[in-house]
């Protein structure tokens, strides 16, 4: 094999390449060809020989290998080589036809047959052969028998006179080796071939480089034939675009081969066409012509773009040949540019330039809005394409361009009512020409805007939130909103409900997290302090609540995809909660049943859900619904991963848990900084709610053995506070809450108040609320009330009776409030007391067990379980069929035990309620 290749590549010539032209058709020779070609490029020295020489040399080489294989009895090799030989012989059939079957070939066939027969007879030798060889032998024997039938006469002739043929062969071999470069003397009839050869010799050597060669051939082609003109010309030929796909398949090597083919073809044209043999070859060339042309055009198409790029610099040359600029031409041009899209070598920036230039030309030539819209679509698309990977974000100038472009596009769409756009308009049913019919353009403005919105989010995610840059970028939010608004207007008249839902959701997404200050101010009855005209404008606009309501309700009614509706509901709730419309928000949340199945939603929706729940909790807190606030925040806070759950940052974790890929995905989910919910505020609200719930509860259940914690996290903070070796004045928000809790435990509401509401906490937390003062008042009141409850729980055993006046003074609450709180506690059986109306005092009943009694009850309970356990041991020992007496005893014991338990329960019940 290798030898064969070596010789093949050695004998590189024009003829060889022309002969090779057939080889692609032969199976299993692609490798050979590529090898040949690679040599082609390097090898500048070309040796020119006749086709016959080449063929015969190939044959002799194969024969040599076969003889070698015969000598070492390698039947497998023999078979392989023989098959190749047959193929090679077939290839050189036209030569053979003229010259007759070469004698060396016949000799080999005869020898091989003899040899095989010999081997076949030799049973012992056959046995020794390995399996492969034996198999090969039988196949080869059959093959050669069949094959030799065609050459029976020649073989018999040879067998009669073997000597003569052998001599001839030897002579030939000698000649072959001697004239490896030129074999003129060997073949007498090959005069024409020689002349052709001589002619060819000059040309390729003058232009060995493939591309140069192409050009030169083109040059010569133009002058000589019209066919070439087509190929070399500017490629407005129709097949050019069609051949696009074939380009990749064929690869460079193929086109290179084609280049050579073409070259030979041309050279032959200019050469004398006398020889019939040549003609035959040429015919084959002609047959190849279509393919060849295709390849050529691919080349052309490839170059075309390049040409376009350099032409851009001198704009007028875009349609250089002074063609009339009309719509088909522009569309064609557009397609040309588009074809380069997404390819490796394409300069994306240049492409955008190209589009722009095209747009300008179109505008200049007044080709109508249709085509302009189409070009704009493509510009925006290529702007999005500019960044190759998903994580990267747009550069500011690109972003600006994108915004402008979309705006312009919208301008056009608004101006002209005659344009229909849609993604489902097929390419060929587009109507771009100015005519009576409306324009039809393929493309989806909604998708573009959605993509723009996503890009905006990406930009915000990738900007440092504490820099001026972020502020600058954030200013674009107005523009984005503006575009979405315009699109909304547009689609409301033209779009389908689905599209309207989508654009509504975009609008909602840009609205829900913004606090509507002007409405807030208006609701407070304050005059709108308009500082500028813009403010004035804004305050005249619709309330965001009304907008939200309208948009969301439309989506609830019309949307068919679950996701949009879910998002809309969540945003709606968030918006309600943000504006302290607690009941609406809560009802909507409960009605939607989102809590049940939110875990099946995708992560971004879950993040939105978490954000909504948190906002809901904070809203409840502002409204003084401490319990609701606590419940809403519990899930988020108890996990300790609030930051992650709200999509406001990644937690530091081991690399094992999260690889780089996951991290990227998570990063993409992050909420931009301007939408963040303050985590400290969140935690503070949670802890204060927990404190207001937990401290009275702890006081009420001090002796309860089975007391449950309401909030684990709060207890954790308390423990951390206790573990501190040295207690200084509180610094952080948590320390403040812990200190306040301790004060509250003693019923000292003043200290508690001063810990919760002070300068530090104001600046850290409370000032972040829109209605700071109201929240603080609510908080103080809650602290007073809960402190009173705690005080009564803790110290009621000390009092026989206590005056409500005293209590009201102590906790700075009005007497009715005190009265109501105490009444509530009495009704709930939390406080064993009764109210004495005439004297306005609370009379304690003292039915609460003392600590010692509590202890005794606990002990009794424990002993009960101990005995039960012991019984079990007994059961096991005595078996299930244990003595009658024992069981009886056990039963009686359990009765007694039950009595204990009941007592315990009763007391517990008293504690609980």
């Amino acid at each position: 094999m290798s030898r064969f290749f070596a010789t093949g590549s050695d004998s590189e010539s024009e003829e060889s390449s022309s002969a090779d032209e057939i080889t692609p058709k032969a199976p299993g020779t692609t490798l050979k060809q590529s090898l040949l070609l690679s040599d082609d490029e390097e090898d500048t020295k070309r040796v020119v020989r006749s086709a016959k020489d080449k063929r015969f040399e190939e044959l002799t080489n194969l024969i040599k290998t076969i003889r070698n294989a015969m000598k070492i009895r390698d039947m497998a090799k023999c078979l392989e080589e023989f098959e190749q030989l047959c193929r090679a012989f077939l290839k050189s059939k036209n030569i053979v036809d003229k010259e007759g079957v070469p004698s060396f070939y016949i000799r080999l066939l005869a020898d091989l047959e003899d040899y095989l027969n010999l081997l076949w007879e030799d049973k012992e030798g056959k046995k020794k052969m390995n399996k492969n060889n034996a198999k090969a032998l039988s196949t080869l024997r059959q093959k050669i028998r069949k094959y030799n039938r065609d050459y029976e006469t020649e073989i018999t002739a040879y067998k009669e006179n073997p000597q003569e043929s052998a001599d001839e062969e030897e002579e030939k071999e000698a000649g072959d080796s001697g004239s490896s470069s030129d074999s003129d003397d060997d073949d007498d009839d090959d005069d024409d071939g020689v002349s052709a050869k001589a002619f060819l010799k000059k040309k390729p050597e003058s232009a060995p480089d493939a591309s140069k060669f192409l050009k030169s051939s083109k040059g010569s082609g133009e002058s000589s034939s019209s066919e070439d003109d087509d190929e070399g010309g500017w490629g407005s030929d129709p097949v050019g675009s069609g051949s696009e796909s074939s380009d990749e398949d064929q690869g460079k090597s193929a086109s290179l081969a084609v280049v050579f083919l073409k070259k030979t073809h041309e050279s032959e044209k200019s050469a004398d066409k006398k020889v019939s043999k040549r003609k035959k070859i040429k015919k084959e060339h002609l047959e190849e012509e279509p393919e060849e042309g295709e390849g050529e055009e691919v080349e052309g198409g490839w170059e075309k773009v390049k040409g376009g790029v350099c032409l851009v610099k001198e704009k007028p040359k875009m349609f250089a040949k002074g063609t009339e600029i009309n719509i088909p031409v522009v569309v064609k041009k557009l397609n040309e540019i588009l074809q380069a899209r997404g390819k490796k070598g394409t300069d994306r920036a240049a492409q955008i330039e190209l589009f722009n230039a095209l747009a300008a030309i179109t505008a200049e030539n007044n080709l109508g809005q249709g085509i302009l819209v189409k070009i704009k679509f493509n510009i925006i698309a290529s702007l999005y394409d500019y960044n190759p990977n998903l994580a990267a974000f747009m550069k500011p100038d690109m972003w600006k361009k994108c915004l402008d472009c979309i705006n312009e596009l919208l301008d056009i769409l608004f101006e002209d009512n005659n344009i229909f756009i849609g993604e489902n308009i097929a390419e060929d049913s587009e109507n771009l020409a100015i005519s009576e019919q409306p324009f039809r353009v393929r493309g989806c403005i909604l998708t573009l805007v959605e993509r723009m919105d996503e890009e905006f989010t990406k930009i915000m995610q990738n900007t440092d939130p504490h820099s001026q840059e972020y502020v600058d970028n954030l200013k674009d939010e107005g523009k984005v909103c503006n575009i979405i608004d315009r699109l909304l207007d547009y689609l409301e008249t033209k779009g389908s409900t689905e599209e309207i839902c989508r654009v509504y959701l975009r609008r909602i997404m840009h609205t829900y997290y913004k606090f509507d200050y002007k409405t807030h101010r208006r609701s407070l009855g304050l005059p709108a302090e308009s500082k500028s005209e813009q403010d004035q404008d804004e305050s005249e606009g619709e309330d965001s609540a009304i907008i939200m309501d309208r948009l969301c309700k439309f989506i609830y009614a019309k949307d068919r995809t679950d996701r949009i509706r879910t998002c809309a509901i969540l945003c709606h709730i968030y918006h309600h909660a943000l504006h302290s419309r607690w009941y609406q928000a809560r009802d909507l949340m409960l009605m939607s049943h989102l809590q049940d199945n939110i875990q099946h939603a995708d992560p971004p929706v879950q993040i939105l859900y978490n954000r909504t729940m948190v906002q809901l909790g904070i809203c409840a807190f502002r409204q003084g619904m401490i319990k609701d606030a606590h419940n809403a925040l519990l899930d988020i806070q108890s996990s300790g991963r609030a930051k992650e759950l709200l999509g406001q940052g990644l937690l530091m974790r081991n690399m094992q848990e999260r690889n780089a890929e996951q991290e990227k995905i998570e990063k993409r989910r992050q909420v931009p900084f301007h939408m963040h919910i303050n985590l400290e505020l969140l935690e503070c609200v949670y802890l204060v709610s927990a404190m207001l719930l937990e401290i009275p509860y702890m006081a009420a259940h001090e002796f309860d053995a089975r007391r449950r914690m309401i909030s684990k996290q709060f207890h954790h903070q308390l423990r951390v506070g206790e573990r501190q070796p040295l207690l200084g004045p509180p610094e952080s928000m948590r320390e403040h809450v812990v200190a306040a809790s301790k004060a509250m435990k003693m019923g000292d509401w003043r200290t508690c108040h001063s810990f919760i509401i002070n300068e530090k906490m104001n600046s850290k937390v409370w000032d972040l609320f829109p209605e700071t003062q109201r929240v603080r008042e609510m908080l103080v009141r809650k602290i007073q009330e809960e402190s009173l409850r705690t005080y009564l729980f803790t110290y009621s055993s000390v009092y026989d009776s206590i005056s409500m006046h005293t209590l009201s003074e102590m906790f700075q609450l009005e007497i009715p409030t005190v009265h109501s709180i105490i009444s509530k506690m009495i009704i709930n059986e939390e406080l064993m007391a009764s109210l004495d109306q005439p004297t306005q005092t609370v009379v304690m009943h003292r039915t609460e067990p003392t600590s010692l009694q509590n202890m005794a009850l606990q002990l009794a309970e424990k002993l009960g379980s101990l005995v039960e356990n012991n019984e079990r041991v007994f059961d096991l020992k005595q078996g299930v069929y244990g003595g009658y007496f024992n069981r009886d005893q056990k039963g009686s014991y359990q009765q007694k035990h039950g009595g204990y338990q009941r007592g315990g329960y009763r007391n517990q019940n008293q504690n609980n309620y």
Partner: protein, 335 residues
């Protein structure tokens, strides 16, 4: 001056077959122990020391003592034995009784029945047959009545400890319950005249309030503490019982399996015999069914002992307090 509880003595004295039937303590020893606790003991911390004396017939006379120094983590290389030897040698030099006859320990609300006490008393009693452990309860003493008790391990427990067989089987065989673990030895305090003089003087000096500590009516604090401790022990006990329960369940399950296996084997063998085939080879049945590790029961016993102890304490305390309350009521009615 102080006589140990007569009832206790009556119940235990009869069963005594140890070399020591009575303990006579010098007043000085008592005072030294009290002083030691006052100076070094705090809260639930315990103080310990060595008792010195000699045996006269069946009476153990404790004539002197010295405390173990409290050593902290810093001087870990402190050699206690070395210190004791040194101390005893020194005492011998000044011609004081120097025979080692036991040790003393303070207690917190009567919680002293523990593994540590058992181990050290065992080693004492193993080495010096007549040695005892004196338990001093400072809290009861603070309430106005000196509480000092002497304990020895019963011979049965000594045997078990020697064999270190704390499995349920072993304890069952030894037939030992928590009430037979320790025996209390009656104590007699003997004062020299000098001590008597000192006592008189002290009594004279002490204020009236000090003397009336005995009549303190408050009870809840002490009882709460006792109950708390009692509850802790009961919890431990519960756990132990659960453990034991699991063990016995596992055991019986395995027994069943074993039984089944044996039966199957027997059948198989019978069949084989009827067919005239050789019997199945013998296998080590114990290897196939490894019995589960039995839980050590000694701790449970100790806990039971401790619970018993607490209960006695509480009973004693409440009966005394009830008496006081009745007395107070009577006094009030009288007024």
């Amino acid at each position: 001056m102080y006589s140990p509880e007569d009832t206790e003595m009556a119940s235990t004295a009869g069963t005594l077959d140890s070399p020591v039937k009575q303990i006579q303590i010098e007043g000085m020893v008592v005072l030294k122990i009290i002083k030691h606790y006052q100076e070094e003991g705090q809260g639930s911390e315990v103080v310990q020391g060595v008792l010195l004396g000699l045996v006269v017939e069946d009476r153990l006379e404790i004539t002197n003592c010295f405390p173990f120094p409290q050593h902290t983590e810093d001087d870990a290389d402190f050699d206690e034995v070395q210190y004791q030897m040194e101390m005893m040698r020194s005492l011998r030099h000044v011609n004081i009784d120097h025979l080692h006859v036991g040790w003393y320990q303070s207690t917190y609300y009567g919680s002293f029945v523990s593994r540590a006490l058992l181990d050290s008393q065992f080693s004492y009693q193993h080495a010096i047959e007549e040695s005892v452990v004196l338990i001093y309860d400072p809290i009861k003493t603070g309430q106005g009545s000196l509480s000092l008790k002497a304990y020895r391990l019963t011979p049965k427990l000594m045997e078990i400890c020697k064999e270190k067989d704390f499995t349920p089987e072993g304890l069952k065989k030894a037939n030992i319950g928590f009430e037979h673990m320790f025996e209390e030895v009656p104590i007699v305090i003997r004062n020299s005249h000098l001590i008597n003089v000192l006592m008189w003087e002290l009594e004279d000096k002490s204020t009236v309030a000090d003397k009336h500590e005995l009549l303190n009516l408050s009870s809840s604090n002490h009882l709460e503490k006792s109950l708390q401790l009692l509850m802790d022990r009961v919890d431990d006990m519960s756990q132990d019982i659960v453990k034991f329960n699991t063990y016995s369940r596992n055991l019986s399950k395995q027994q069943q399996q074993k039984h089944q296996y044996l039966q199957r084997r027997q059948q198989e063998n019978a069949q084989r015999q009827s067919r005239g085939e050789p019997q199945l080879p013998e296998e080590d049945i114990n290897k196939m069914f490894k019995p589960p590790q039995p839980p050590p029961r000694m701790d449970t016993l100790l806990i039971a002992g401790q619970v018993n102890n607490y209960c006695q304490n509480v009973k004693e305390f409440t009966s005394q307090n009830l008496g006081k309350l009745f007395m107070a009521e009577a006094l009030q009615g009288h007024n």
